[in-house]
Symmetry: C2
């Protein structure tokens, strides 16, 4: 079974939702047979600031709230994070453009290190006040995740590297009707939007597992079996 | 939409089936929105011959047939291949262990060159009498497919490189009930076994497309939208 998770590093509910999903997954009997793929979704793709701003200031400016109101919003999210055992800084976090981080996560996926890098990037952003909008920090996180420093640097230096993969993920999100993240997709059959409680994830995993058997289409056709036998059907096939 | 195709380079029906699938795909209105992933399936995983043998001899030996009977089997397959516009040599083809080719196809997937390499490997094996059981031929094919020669050589030299990915594909095939190839899976909802006529593939694509809308599970939960807004639901969430 395959679970795809669309998220953005800048999204606190993605950070919290990942922990809740993993808790739900641990309760699922077939968790060893679940392949997890993290997919890209930029919350703020047009953000062009060369300098990252502070999250609280961004929230206050964007929603026309006072700093105090923005702080109250953050405190609520922080309480949810801490209830999952996650560190959460309500002040001092940067906000910026996450495109480069998504490209790096695609490199990490190609190297089998995606989950490691995502965990480290979430922790850096939400719990450690290390700016994930700083190229040197990203390279350091990549190395901590088991990637090659030079390869990570080369990807960050080339804006085209894995850019198509990020765009493809975002197109797919739109096609699947995802307009907010985190967005979880189970074998493309069931979807979950948002950082739901762990038991909702377990339920979705169980439902998707039950519905796994595929419907087979078509009659007998030429095929080769594991013993090397290649059946040539009497009917079927262009030339039969 | 995602189509996964399990196949083995040594399988003539996989070679023919790929052409038929692509013909069926071309007739499908949303063919631009189909992601294709080639997955590994070894027909003869325990084949340990250091020296490849000729296919006709293998067929004759394996099924206790005469060379003439084996040739007749091959002639039938060849007629099907040629009807799809594919070259097919009924004599002179090698048979061997395909594990290394599968590992190389996984490297090619990571580099976005999987379809190119598979097409070249099929042509080499079935139409050109270039032995895909020869490491130098494989490196040459990898380079023709756009891969880096040194990287391809390094993967071939290290039997562990992408070995887990090959085994994972094979485990998944077994879980999905695939006992022969080619085996086509459409969004994990519909399956097609064998090199069916093109129109069966079009039908499966249309059926899977129609069934795409996912069932959403769960209530409102914390999520962040593209405008940067992170809704905090009043209900739901561990701490809400």
């Amino acid at each position: 079974m395959r679970v795809e998770i669309w998220s953005d590093i800048a999204c606190p509910w993605c950070y919290i939702g990942k922990a809740r999903f993993e808790k739900g997954l641990a309760e699922f009997a077939h968790h060893d047979e679940v392949e997890i793929v993290h997919r890209s979704f930029e919350l703020d793709p047009t953000y062009a600031g060369d300098e990252p701003v502070q999250v609280i200031d961004m929230l206050a400016r964007k929603y026309g709230r006072t700093r105090e109101e923005a702080q109250a919003m953050e405190a609520n999210v922080a309480a949810n994070a801490r209830a999952e055992g996650l560190g959460y800084l309500t002040e001092g976090r940067d906000h910026g453009n996450t495109f480069d981080i998504h490209r790096l996560l695609h490199l990490a996926r190609a190297r089998g290190r995606q989950d490691e890098l995502l965990n480290l990037a979430y922790r850096a952003n939400f719990a450690e006040e290390r700016s994930v909008y700083d190229g040197d920090v990203l390279v350091a996180l990549a190395v901590e995740a088991g990637l090659d420093a030079d390869e990570a640097r080369a990807v960050l230096a080339d804006p085209k590297a894995y850019a198509d993969e990020v765009r493809a993920d975002e197109r797919e999100a739109a096609e699947l009707g995802a307009n907010a993240v985190p967005f979880f997709v189970f074998d493309r059959r069931y979807g979950i939007s948002g950082g739901q409680p762990a038991e909702v994830f377990t339920q979705a995993l169980e439902q998707a597992w039950k519905d796994r058997p595929m419907t087979m289409i078509g009659e007998d056709a030429g095929a080769c079996g594991p013993d090397g036998a290649c059946e040539v059907p009497v009917t079927g096939g262009t030339n039969a």
